[in-house]
Amino acid sequence: MSIVEGKYSATMDMWPLQSKEMTRIHPFYDNLKEGRFTTTSCRDCGTRAFPPRVVCPECLSENLEYVDLPLKGKVLIVTEEEVGVPVGFETPLIHAMIELDDQLTVFARVMNCKMGDLKEGDEVKLVVYPVDPLPVDGKKGAINLQERVFYAFEKA
C-alpha cells in the first residue's frame, strides 16, 4: 500500500480552496453556489476587476464590494481540443472566447457541447457544477468534506 493512500495533497488539487478558512475571496464561491457570477468593484475608484481581489489593482484600496457579472455572453472564437487534454477533462475539450459585456471577455470551457456544435455569434450561459470536495482535518482524526463548485459555460 502506498504511504500516500487516503492523503489529500494540495499539489494535486486542481480546484481552488474556497472556504472562509482558506481564502478571503470566499464570497465569490458562496455567490457561485447560489448561481451568481460576481467579482469585486472598488468603492473608491470604481474599478471592477476580474478575478476578484482583496486589494484594488488600480488604487490599492481595500474598500471593495461584490457586484454581479452577466450570466450570458456572446461567443467570439471557438476552439476544439481533440487530443492531449488534462486528466479530469474529456475530448473534445471546447473553449470559447466569450464577450460578457463591454468590459469583460473571458476564455472559458464550454460544457455539454459536441464538435461543430458551437459557432461564433452563439449565445452561451453560465453553468455552475460541483467539483471534488475538499478533505479537511477535523478533531480526533476525523476528515470533514467541504463542498466545492466551479463554473463554465454552455449553449444558451
Binding site: 476552439t79 487534454v85 488534462p86 486528466v87 475539450l93 472559458a108 470551457r109
Partner: protein, 390 residues
C-alpha cells in the same frame, strides 16, 4: 558600468531522455566548459539556475546549490534559482548581465533545464494546469496551451488573412534548420503536405504546429569584458541590450490576442539600449512554441509590418538568404522546449552565429536577437547580442 560578454555555452541532448534532471544539469554544465576549455568550474563566481517544474517533476526545491555541488562550482557572489516558466532561461541571462554590469559578480553561469517526462504521461498535462493562472484558467482545463494559440491564430487569420499554409511553412523551415542539430529533439525534415495533413490538436493547430514535450538542459557563461579577454580566445560576443515586459497574466486580462503589446514594449527597450533597430538584426531566435507565435513575433519585433508575418515567411524572408533568418538551429519546433533551458539555447545559438561557428551559419552576422515568452503569452523577454560594442 562594465560591458558583458558571452564566453561559452553548451547543452545536453534534448528529447525524451533516459536521465534525471540532475543528470542533465551536469551534462549541460560540462558541455559549456568543454566548449571553451579556458574557463573552468573554478572560475565561476555566480550561478543562476532556471527550472520551472523542478518541484512538480523532480521533487527538489532549493535547486541552485544542488546544481552547484554537482558541477563542482563554488559560487561566492550569488547562487540562486530563477523561474519564469518558458522564459526562465532568458530571464536568468538578463539577471546575470545586470549583476556583472554592476560589479556584483565577474563570471556567471546561467544554467536551466527541465525533466518533463514522468513515468506516466498524464502527470505532465496535469502539472501544466499550474502554468496558467491555476485558480481561474487551469480550472477551465487550460493546461497545455494549444487552445490559447488556436484562438490567437484564428484571430490573426480573421484580421490579416494569414493562412494555414503560412503557419505550416514556419514548421517546415524550422524542421529543415534543425536537420544537423545533433542536440535537438528532431532531426527529420517535414514537407508542407505532411504539415498540412497532420492530425489536429486544436484546429488550426495541427501536430507540427506545436512544439513537443522535452527533457533537456543548457548552460551559458557570461563574463565582464576585462575577464572575458583572459577567458576566451574566440571572438567576443557582447550583450548589447535587454528588455522584458509583463502586462497581464490571466486570460480575461489579455486585451489583444493577436498583437503582443508586452513584446513590443520589451523589444523597444532592448533596441534602445542596444542602439539598433529591427532592420539591423542579422539573425534571430524567437519563441516558436507554435507556428503562429513566430509569425506574430516577426511583426511585433518589427521585422515586418503588422499583419505581414504570413507573407514574410512565405517569401522566405525569415529563412537563410532572407531579411533575417529566424530559428537557425531549429527553434522550439525542432529542438523541443524544456522550459528552463529554451532561452539559454537561444543565447548559445546567437553566440555561435556571431562568432561565425554555427552549425548552419548566417554569413557575416554581427547583430543577433533572442525572444522568449512565458505562460499565457504573459511575459516577453528580448535580448540583443552584438559582435561589436555600439
Amino acid at each position: 558600468m562594465r560591458n558583458v560578454c558571452v564566453i561559452a555555452g553548451g547543452q545536453s541532448v534534448w528529447g525524451a531522455r533516459q536521465a534525471s534532471e540532475r543528470d542533465m544539469f551536469q551534462e549541460a554544465g560540462k558541455a559549456a566548459f568543454e566548449e571553451n576549455p579556458a574557463v573552468t568550474n573554478k572560475d565561476i563566481d555566480g550561478l543562476i539556475v532556471g527550472s520551472a517544474y523542478t518541484e512538480r517533476c523532480s521533487f527538489q526545491t532549493h535547486l541552485a546549490p544542488v546544481v552547484a555541488e554537482s558541477l563542482g562550482i563554488r559560487p561566492v557572489n550569488i547562487c540562486c534559482r530563477v523561474e519564469l516558466l518558458c522564459a526562465t532561461g532568458s530571464s536568468g541571462i538578463i539577471l546575470a548581465d545586470a549583476m556583472i554590469r554592476s560589479g556584483k559578480a565577474d563570471v556567471v553561469m546561467v544554467i536551466g533545464g527541465e525533466k518533463l517526462f514522468t513515468p506516466q504521461r498524464w502527470e505532465v498535462n496535469y502539472s501544466e494546469l499550474a502554468s496558467v493562472d491555476h485558480d481561474w484558467d487551469g480550472t477551465q482545463g487550460l493546461g497545455l496551451p494549444p487552445p490559447v494559440f488556436s484562438a490567437v491564430a484564428q484571430q490573426h487569420m480573421k484580421l490579416y488573412g494569414t493562412t494555414e499554409e503560412q503557419l505550416a511553412m514556419v514548421s517546415v523551415k524550422n524542421r529543415r534548420n534543425g536537420l544537423n542539430n545533433k542536440k535537438g529533439q528532431y532531426q527529420e525534415a517535414i514537407t508542407l503536405e505532411q504539415a498540412m495533413n497532420a492530425r489536429a490538436i486544436v484546429r488550426p493547430m495541427k501536430l507540427f504546429d506545436c512544439c513537443p514535450v522535452t527533457d533537456g538542459a543548457a548552460a551559458i557563461i557570461l563574463a565582464a569584458e576585462e575577464k572575458a579577454k583572459y577567458l576566451t580566445d574566440k571572438p567576443l560576443v557582447y550583450i548589447r541590450g535587454t528588455g522584458q515586459a509583463t502586462l497581464h497574466n490571466m486570460s480575461a486580462n489579455m486585451r489583444n490576442w493577436s498583437t503582443w503589446e508586452s513584446l513590443r514594449i520589451a523589444a523597444k527597450q532592448a533596441y534602445a539600449k542596444a542602439g539598433v533597430t529591427a532592420k539591423d538584426v542579422n539573425v534571430a531566435q524567437t519563441h516558436d512554441c507554435f507556428t503562429i507565435s513566430e509569425i506574430i513575433e516577426t511583426e511585433d519585433l518589427g521585422f515586418c509590418e503588422k499583419g505581414e508575418g504570413g507573407p514574410f515567411v512565405q517569401a522566405g524572408q525569415s529563412d537563410f538568404g532572407g531579411q533575417v533568418p529566424i530559428n537557425t538551429d531549429g527553434g522550439l519546433l525542432s529542438c523541443g522546449h524544456p522550459f528552463g533551458a529554451t532561452g539559454i539555447r537561444q543565447g548559445i545559438e546567437i553566440m555561435h552565429q556571431l562568432r561565425g561557428d554555427a552549425v548552419r551559419q548566417v554569413e557575416g552576422a554581427r547583430i543577433g536577437l533572442t525572444h522568449n515568452l512565458s505562460g499565457f503569452i504573459a511575459a516577453h523577454t528580448v535580448l540583443i547580442y552584438g559582435r561589436d560594442l555600439a
